[in-house]
Symmetry: C2
Subunit: 123 residues, 2 copies
C-alpha cells in the first residue's frame, strides 16, 4: 500500500482556519495542512483536481478524467488516491465506473490558511 | 546546489488567479502552482512561513526564527531557501543577520486558486 497522507482536520465545515499570517500555526495543524498541500504539489494532481472541481454537475466519471493526460491509467488512479487520502476529493463506485467530486470544505480551509488580505498591518 | 523550485508566476500583483473550480487549470499554470504548493507541503516550512507572516512589523530576523524548532540551523536555512525559491518569502541581509518577510501576492494567488465559494453551482 502507498503511504497514507494525513487527512486535513480542523474547523467543522465552516470552511475557515486561522490564517497563517494571523498567528503562528500550531504544530499539529501544520502537519495536517502540510499533508494536503503536499497532495497539491504535483502538476498532474492539480490538473485532475481542477477538472473534477470545474466539471459541470459537480462530479465526474473517472472515464472522463483519463483522456488528455500523458500519464497511464494506473498513474492517474494513484494521483486520485493521493487527493482522496488528503481529503481534497471523494468518490463513489456506481456500476462499472467510479465518480469523483471535490470536498469544498477542505479547499476552503486551505484557502483560509493562505489568506493575507484581512490581516491588519502592525506599526 | 539544491533543486530549484519553479517560482509562481501569473497575474501581476492582482493577487488573483482563476480558481481551480472555475475552469481546468492550464498545464503551465499547474506546474508553477504545484511548485509553490510543494514548498508548503512540509510542516516545518508551514510553521516557518506562519512565524514570518504573523510577526509584528511584517519581517523577522533569522535569529528569531530558529529557536523553538527541533531541527538544526542548517535545516531551517534549507527550508527558508525552499520557501524563497517558491516565491513565498523574500529576504535581505543587514549586517550579521538576514531578515525575512512574506510575498503576499504569492499567498493570495494560491488562495485564489483554491477558492470555491464564488463558483456558481451548475444544474
Amino acid at each position: 500500500m502507498s503511504k497514507q497522507l494525513p487527512v486535513l482536520t480542523g474547523a467543522e465545515d465552516t470552511g475557515c482556519c486561522t490564517p497563517l499570517a494571523q498567528e503562528p500555526i500550531p504544530a499539529t495543524d501544520a502537519v495536517n495542512a502540510a499533508g494536503a498541500f503536499k497532495a497539491l504539489g504535483d502538476p498532474t494532481r492539480l490538473q485532475l483536481l481542477s477538472r473534477i472541481a470545474s466539471h459541470a454537475g459537480g462530479e465526474v466519471c473517472v472515464c472522463e478524467l483519463t483522456p488528455g493526460f500523458e500519464v497511464s491509467g494506473p498513474t492517474i488512479s494513484h494521483h486520485l488516491k493521493v487527493l482522496r487520502q488528503a481529503g481534497l476529493i471523494d468518490c463513489e463506485r456506481r456500476g462499472t465506473w467510479v465518480y469523483y467530486w471535490i470536498v469544498p470544505s477542505t479547499l476552503a480551509r486551505l484557502a483560509g490558511l493562505l489568506q493575507v488580505g484581512s490581516v491588519t498591518p502592525v506599526g
